[in-house]
Structure formats: structure tokens, C-alpha cells
């Protein structure tokens, strides 16, 4: 199997005043063809920063300290902005959470979608564009009238479908869903998840789903990568991660899912707070909150260990496993 996305030692930092925020620290990740990987983490874990670094859409105060991103054969980190603009949205795209702010409020939906098509296919005929838009709308279950609407005339679920259609407008091979269903109602979210699953099959897409909802990942992905404070702590097939997690953080996270809680007293959570990302502690990033941490954990940084198709960064893995 050849990887579609290869991230190697990616480190992204934000400069805020005199501080350096370690948003993404030394992450390496492989995504194979037609695989969907869910990036799970709480707010501030760096999952969105990582996604935006991959598609080169970081805000001006962020910079890539080092690392390589190889997506569909493009060496994205070392490409110029102009070169990236030529392939972004054509070969890979991203669906944002806030569709209201991602769409232009003063242009009709069809104009916005047409622009994205024309930009990458200058030769395309009007007829072809129209048939493509029809097809896309059908794929995301939207009525035709949406094309002539402005964003404010649509509901949240419709707008999110427009965003998905817009991301697929040039039939890319790789799509990132950045909290794409988070703000939606349960039923709408469930429907969109189903539609995306269908599309993944039809277009043989590869992709990444960024979310804090493990339930969504379970319905949509094959693999799960768990991030904590900018670090990748665990990576593996979804059912292994959900039903047999290795890392103490993943364990704690999974056991605080209401799905697994039967009685009121069982609700545990994780005591403590995220570390200050401008001053990283020595040793394992999770050690201050970890129930298993010992001296070594506070001294040395655990590296990502591989065990068959699973990876975990913890000195205590043997103890965790049993």
C-alpha cells in the first residue's frame, strides 16, 4: 500500500507576543490510500493546527518549525504559495466547521462554486459546469434551488452540505473534514455522516476527520490518531483504540465517554489541566495528569513505539496493556 499522506516530524509553533506556543510537536503520521483517519483530541490539542499546516492555510502568526508533509506526491512544506494554490482544491481540499464564515455572504452559491471550478479548469464549458454542479448537489442531497440562494437563506445543515459539495467540486483525492459536523443537530449530523461515507466509496476518497467526538470518528473512520497537547500519543485501527486503548490518556478519555457509563457515580474524567504550551514540561507531556507516571516519565520524552499496526508513546505501555 502506498501512502497518500506522509507527515514527518511536523512541528508548528505560534508566535504570540514574546511567547512561542508549541501547538504541534514532532508529529509523524501515514495515511494510506482510501483510508479515513480520525484525529481526536480536546480543544487546544493542536489537531486543527495540524490540518491547516497540511493544506498550508496557517494564520500569519504561525510557522512551521520543521518537518515534511508529502501529500499526493507534493512536497507541501517546501512549495511556494503560488504552487500550492494551483493544486489546493484541485487535488486536495478541506471542509471547515464554520460554513457561515467560510462562504461569501454576498455571492450566490452557484457563483462561489463555479469560481472554484473555473479557476482550476479554465477551458471548461458552461454546460459542463452546470452538469457538474447538478451532480454535486445530488450527491449531498440538496435541492436545485440552493444554487441560486445566498448563504443566509440556508439552514446550518444545508450550508454544511454546500461546504462539502464545494470541497468536492474538482473531485479531489484527499479531503480534510475539520469539525465539519460539530455544530449540527444529531439527525442532520447523522445524515451527513452517511452521505460522506457514500461519497468516500463513490469517489474513492482518502481523508482525515478532525473532531472531538469519538462517536463521529467511529462512524466515519478506519483509524484513530489521538492527540494531546500537540503530541500524537496513540495511533491505530479504530476498534482497537476505542475498545482496547493503550495510552493512559486515551484510556481516560474513552472511559469518560457517556456511552460507556452505566451509573451516575462512574463518571471519572481527567483531573488537572492542559500544560502551558509556551513552556513545555520536561519528560512526557501527559505525566502531570497521568495516574501511572513515575520518575522516568518526568525526565524523558517517550517516543512513538510501534506494535503491529498500532503506535503508542508511553513508557508504561506494558502496564497499560495488562
Amino acid at each position: 500500500m502506498n501512502p497518500i499522506l506522509e507527515i514527518m516530524n511536523l512541528t508548528v509553533r505560534y508566535k504570540i507576543k514574546n511567547k512561542e506556543i508549541h501547538a504541534v510537536e514532532d508529529i509523524s503520521l501515514l495515511v494510506n490510500k482510501e483510508e479515513f483517519v480520525g484525529i481526536v483530541g480536546e480543544s487546544g490539542s493542536g489537531k486543527s493546527t495540524m490540518a491547516h499546516a497540511i493544506v498550508r492555510l496557517l494564520p500569519p502568526n504561525a510557522y512551521i518549525k520543521n518537518g515534511r508533509v508529502n501529500l499526493l506526491g507534493y512536497d507541501l512544506i517546501n512549495m511556494s504559495d503560488e504552487e500550492v494554490m494551483k493544486v489546493r482544491w484541485k487535488d486536495f481540499s478541506i471542509v471547515f466547521q464554520k460554513s457561515m464564515s467560510a462562504l461569501s455572504p454576498v455571492h450566490r452559491i452557484d457563483d462561489q462554486m463555479m469560481e472554484a471550478i473555473k479557476l482550476h479548469n479554465p477551458q471548461i464549458s458552461q454546460q459542463e459546469i452546470e452538469s457538474r454542479l447538478d451532480k454535486l448537489l445530488q450527491m449531498v442531497n440538496l435541492p436545485k434551488r440552493v444554487l441560486k440562494s445566498y448563504p443566509h437563506e440556508l439552514s446550518g445543515g444545508m450550508m454544511q452540505r454546500v461546504m462539502i459539495a464545494l470541497a468536492l467540486v474538482n473531485f479531489p483525492k484527499f479531503v480534510i473534514f475539520d469539525e465539519a459536523t460539530t455544530a449540527l443537530d444529531v439527525v442532520t449530523q447523522g445524515q451527513i455522516i452517511e452521505e460522506v461515507r457514500q461519497l468516500v466509496k463513490e469517489l474513492s476518497l482518502t481523508g482525515m476527520v478532525i473532531t472531538h467526538d469519538i462517536g463521529v470518528v467511529n462512524e466515519l473512520c478506519d483509524k484513530i490518531a489521538v492527540m494531546y497537547a500537540g503530541k500524537l500519543v496513540e495511533y491505530g485501527p479504530k476498534s482497537d483504540i476505542i475498545h482496547n486503548p493503550y495510552h493512559p490518556y486515551t484510556k481516560a478519555l474513552i472511559s469518560s465517554l457517556p456511552d460507556f457509563i452505566k451509573e451516575r457515580g462512574e463518571f471519572a474524567g481527567i483531573p488537572g489541566n492542559l500544560p502551558d504550551l509556551s513552556q513545555l514540561p520536561k519528560g512526557c507531556i501527559f505525566a502531570p495528569r497521568c495516574p501511572l507516571a513515575d520518575e522516568k516519565c518526568f525526565e524523558q520524552v517517550p517516543s512513538l513505539l510501534r506494535n503491529d499496526d498500532r503506535q503508542v508513546a508511553c513508557f508504561k505501555v506494558k502496564e497499560v496493556k495488562t
Binding site: 480536546e42 480543544s43 442531497n141 439552514s155 445543515g157 444545508m158 443537530d185 444529531v186 439527525v187 442532520t188 449530523q189 447523522g190 445524515q191 455522516i193 452517511e194 472531538h212 467526538d213 469519538i214 462517536g215 463521529v216 467511529n218 462512524e219 476505542i242 481516560a252 478519555l253 474513552i254 469518560s256 465517554l257 457517556p258 456511552d259 460507556f260 457509563i261 452505566k262 451509573e263 451516575r264 463518571f267 471519572a268 474524567g269 481527567i270 483531573p271 489541566n273
Partner: protein, 322 residues
């Protein structure tokens, strides 16, 4: 009325008036709900955004005035006017979703917490009241408690501040607490601290709680009974476990089959229409009929009433016969 009942609501309605081009229309946010809450009971209110669950909370906390209907609290009618005696005001407390919005950003935690104590004459003087606050902060796991008195809301994390808003409500020892989506903006790992504090304090004082949420799995293990709301009406009411594991109303069935879960799913039940109807254009008959996959001709003509289908399990659906 027997003594175990704390609150009884009869045919409560709350309409908001809209004026568009001089024409009046109504948003029927709460449209004739009746239920009761026992002393010490937790009633979960489950519904999607816009179903009127938050409006119900605001009307019961006497922030909004109802359009019609009766609210009987401790054998006394409190509906009809927003003017209440001090004891009843103290007896009904509400916790809102975003703690950063419900605290005055220019007041320290101590100043924010001391006001309700002063108003209700708890404690002799300021130092006395500070002792009470310190005691509660200690109970909520703030160590050392005195370090938090002089802090401002923005200096605390969302989870910490939400714990303080739980304290602010529970310091007054209310007999009825309304928690409106009180953990939905918090991360999984910190939800537990808020929920456990809420459960500890309410069970200690035998406080009844109305827990408003859109999260089925959370509502299931937290509540004693669960009410499912669709477009301002209760469509199903019963024991929390019973409703979530053996849903009878088609809407509840759809809601549960579509909520993302970490477990393998059975067959999904699909709604007929993709887009939901709004409060304004409800037609005759059952408000869920246009989306209901089991709707019969009768459903579009006659409005179903809530009745006991199984023991202590009420459903408003014409598919079940009396």
C-alpha cells in the same frame, strides 16, 4: 396534589410574535407541555436545537413570561406574573451553557458569589459570607480556595468557571435547579468534574433538577426520567433507561439511531424529509408527520395527545392505540 411533587406544569405555552411586512406570525417555542417533577428527581429534557427546550427552562426559571398555562411550584401557582417572593426566587436557580456569558467580566469571583448571599440574607457580614464561599470552593475541589477569590472570570478555564456557576446556584440551597446544556461547551475530560459536582450537591440537598441537553447518552445516565421534545411539544416521556433503550415515538427512534456512538449500530431508521420543519409553518395534525416514515393519513389531520402506552411510559403518537 401529593407532597412528593415539587413542580407541576399544565399546558404551558410560550409564543414569540414575529412581524414581517406588517403581518403577524407566531413562533410556537413551547406549545402546550404538561409534566411534573418530584422532589429530588432529575428530569432530562432532550431535544435538538430550536425545539424549545431552552425556552422551557427560561419560562420555568421565571425569566420569560409564559403565553398560557399554569406552573405550580410547591403547591403554589407561580405563573401569571414574573413577580415572585424572595423565597421562591431563591428556590429556583438556573445554570446556563456558557459561564463566560453568565459572569460579569469585571467582577472577581468573590464579588460575583457574594451578591446572591447578600440578597438572600445568608451570613451575618462580609467575612462570614467569605467563609461560606471558601467552604463551597473547597467542596468543589479548588485548592487553595482563597487563591480563586480574587480572580476574574477570564483567568479561569471553562470547566473551572462552570463549576463556580454550579456553586453560585447551589449555595442558595434551591429546591429546583435548571441546568441548560451546562456541559455541552466543555471538553470530555472536564465534563465529569462539573457533572459530579452537580450530582453531589443536588443529592445532598435533595434538589430536583431539570437537565436540558441534546446528548442522549448523557441524558440517559444522568436523569431519572427523560422527556423528548419536538417543535415545542413533548413527544415521549418516561423512565430514562426505558426511553433510551426502548423508544416508542418515531422521532425518538430516529434521534437515537442517528446519534453517533462507539458501539456497532443496528439498522438506521430514516426520516422521510431531510430538512426539518420550523415552528412557524406547523400545519394541522402531528408536527412530526411530514418527516415521519410511519405517518398515516390520520397523522396529518389529528394532533396526537400524550398517553400512557406502556406502564409509566407516555407517547404522543397515533400509531399507538389507547
Amino acid at each position: 396534589m401529593n407532597d412528593t411533587k415539587l413542580l407541576e406544569v399544565r399546558n404551558l405555552k410560550k409564543y414569540f410574535t414575529l412581524r414581517k411586512f406588517g403581518r403577524k406570525s407566531f413562533v410556537r417555542a413551547v406549545d402546550g407541555v404538561s409534566f411534573h417533577i418530584d422532589r429530588g428527581e432529575i428530569l432530562g429534557i432532550l431535544g435538538e436545537s430550536g425545539c424549545g427546550k431552552s425556552t422551557l427552562g427560561l419560562v420555568l426559571s421565571r425569566i420569560e413570561k409564559e403565553t398560557e398555562g399554569d406552573i405550580i411550584f410547591k403547591n403554589k401557582k407561580i405563573s401569571g406574573s414574573l413577580k415572585l417572593d424572595k423565597q421562591t426566587r431563591r428556590d429556583i436557580q438556573i445554570i446556563l451553557q456558557n459561564p463566560y456569558d453568565s459572569f460579569d467580566p469585571r467582577l472577581t469571583i468573590q464579588d460575583s458569589l457574594i451578591v446572591p448571599l447578600k440578597i438572600h440574607g445568608i451570613g451575618e457580614n462580609t467575612s462570614d459570607r467569605r467563609e461560606i464561599i471558601l467552604d463551597y470552593l473547597h467542596k468543589a475541589g479548588f485548592e487553595p480556595p482563597s487563591a480563586f477569590l480574587k480572580r476574574y472570570p477570564h483567568e479561569l478555564s471553562g470547566g473551572q468557571l462552570q463549576r463556580i456557576s454550579v456553586l453560585r446556584a447551589m449555595m442558595l440551597k434551591p429546591s429546583f435547579l435548571i441546568a441548560d446544556e451546562c456541559v455541552s461547551m466543555l471538553d470530555l475530560s472536564v465534563r465529569a468534574s462539573v457533572i459530579n459536582l452537580l450530582l453531589d450537591l443536588t443529592s445532598m440537598e435533595n434538589t430536583s433538577m431539570m437537565f436540558i441537553t441534546h446528548d442522549i447518552s448523557l441524558g440517559k445516565f444522568l436523569s431519572d426520567r427523560l422527556a423528548v421534545i419536538y417543535l415545542g411539544k413533548i413527544v415521549e416521556l418516561g423512565n430514562a433507561k426505558e426511553v433510551s433503550e426502548n423508544p416508542l415515538h418515531p422521532y425518538t427512534k430516529i434521534l437515537i439511531s442517528y446519534s453517533p456512538s462507539v458501539f456497532e449500530k443496528k439498522e438506521k431508521i430514516k426520516p422521510k424529509e431531510i430538512l426539518s420543519t420550523t415552528h412557524q409553518n406547523i400545519q394541522r395534525g402531528c408536527s412530526f408527520a411530514p418527516r415521519c416514515p410511519f405517518a398515516k393519513k390520520e397523522c396529518f389531520e389529528r394532533e396526537p395527545e400524550l398517553f400512557e402506552v406502556e406502564k409509566r411510559h407516555w407517547v404522543a403518537c397515533l400509531n399507538y392505540k389507547k
